[in-house]
């Protein structure tokens, strides 16, 4: 049986056992320890950035939303319940990031977003220096396939993959029943597989 796992080395670096856990860092930030805040940012910036990047389809917008997420998270740290458990902080920042992405989606409007997305594809996603045309095409095909998923399905898939979250946590984060979250994940995986097969 294959479990969906993260390749930690490709993200913000492996977490050493000696490192303090999230609730301890949150407590230190509340006491005014800026370094603890930096550690939290270092720990989750990589996964959050990739999550937002795949969710909104633009690196520029993703970075802007990431910045808003951290400012909002550290501003409202008093509201976070550190006693909720080890992975609660991760769920909390991913929820803030999801809300920021949804706000952005709503405020910019789907049509404008689509046009802007097209422009950004032209501007940002052209083949970088050193990347072959074949690789650029594959990248574009993968990106396109993910963007074909409805927003609700994409959120669950990306939270599972980049957030390494349990389905129970995802359901709680999105405020939907567990069966709904599982149904969205199932549809997202099947559709993505079909799209990949059709365009290979």
């Amino acid at each position: 049986m294959t479990e969906m796992t993260l390749d930690a080395s490709s993200r913000s670096g492996p977490i050493r056992p000696a490192e303090p856990n999230d609730p301890a860092l949150v407590e230190r930030v509340r006491d005014g320890d800026l370094e603890a805040g930096e550690e939290l940012v270092r720990r989750y910036t990589g996964p959050l950035m990739r999550y937002l990047q795949r969710l909104v389809g633009s690196e520029h917008v993703a970075e802007e939303l990431l910045q808003q997420t951290w400012v909002s998270a550290l501003d409202n740290l008093d509201r976070f319940n550190a006693a909720a458990g080890g992975s609660a902080f991760k769920g909390w920042v991913f929820r803030i990031a999801t809300n920021k992405a949804n706000d952005h989606w709503r405020s910019s409007g789907r049509e404008r977003q689509a046009k802007q997305g097209l422009r950004l594809v032209m501007a940002e996603h052209g083949p970088p220096a050193g990347q072959s045309l074949e690789m650029a095409e594959e990248q574009e095909r993968l990106r396109w396939a993910i963007e074909q998923l409805p927003q609700s399905q994409r959120e669950v898939l990306l939270l599972r993959y980049y957030g390494e979250m349990k389905f129970v946590e995802i359901a709680e984060l999105l405020g939907c029943p567990l069966n709904t979250a599982l149904g969205r994940m199932h549809k997202a995986m099947i559709k993505l597989k079909q799209l990949m097969e059709e365009h290979e």
Partner: protein, 202 residues
């Protein structure tokens, strides 16, 4: 079978929870018993495993092809942005107080209001029609008498405004007395009242 397994409404939901390792030991054993006795369920599980591997591979490949900014560099950028935000937030109330104290002294509020009121009054006054004095219907002149005075004499005034060729001397005297009172400031507004007998002649 636990409450959790009973709550899951479809085979896909149960199998996804099984694949993700989120079921307890007892539930896991239950699912494996079902799988061993149900070939359709096994096929369903294989399909799900393939779909999961495929979507996982798609995201992994995309991460390799478009890794985005370096996580460490990005973290530093985020921290700078957060620090900048906190500094701005700390400085904001002081800046606002200073703007209120230095930029707008208390007396400017009253001065501004007075200047605006004076300007409005001036505009209103400029567009006003000259005041027209009301007269009794029968004595109303065709033009305000104040404009006739002091050019016209009492006789001329009466000849202009009354339908008579020869005004009566006592009426001329009355009008001229009125003009004199107006000129001396004894009365402020011209008002002529003629004896009704005057009109009995017509």
């Amino acid at each position: 079978m636990s409450d959790l397994l009973q709550k899951l409404q479809s085979n896909e939901a149960i199998l996804l929870m099984y694949l993700s390792g989120e079921l307890g030991e007892e539930d896991r054993a239950d699912v494996e018993r079902m799988l061993s006795s149900d070939s359709a369920l096994r096929t369903q599980l294989e399909g799900l495993e393939q779909a999961q591997a495929s979507s996982q591979e798609a995201l992994r490949r995309l991460d390799r092809l478009a890794p985005g900014p370096d996580a460490l560099v990005l973290s530093r950028r985020m921290m700078r942005a957060v620090r900048r935000h906190h500094l701005e937030r700390q400085e904001r109330p002081i800046e606002q107080e200073e703007t209120e104290r230095v930029g707008r002294p208390w007396w400017t509020y009253g001065l501004g209001t007075s200047a605006a009121a004076a300007l409005l009054l001036l505009v209103w006054w400029t567009y006003q029609e000259p005041a027209v004095t009301e007269y009794p219907g029968w004595a109303r002149p065709t033009q305000p008498p104040v404009q006739q005075f002091p050019r016209a004499s009492g006789r001329e005034w009466l000849e202009d405004f009354l339908p008579v060729s020869e005004p009566m001397p006592e009426n001329i005297g009355s009008v001229e007395a009125h003009f004199t009172a107006l000129a001396s400031g004894e009365i402020e507004q011209p008002f002529f009242y003629f004896d009704e007998d005057l009109f009995e002649e017509f």
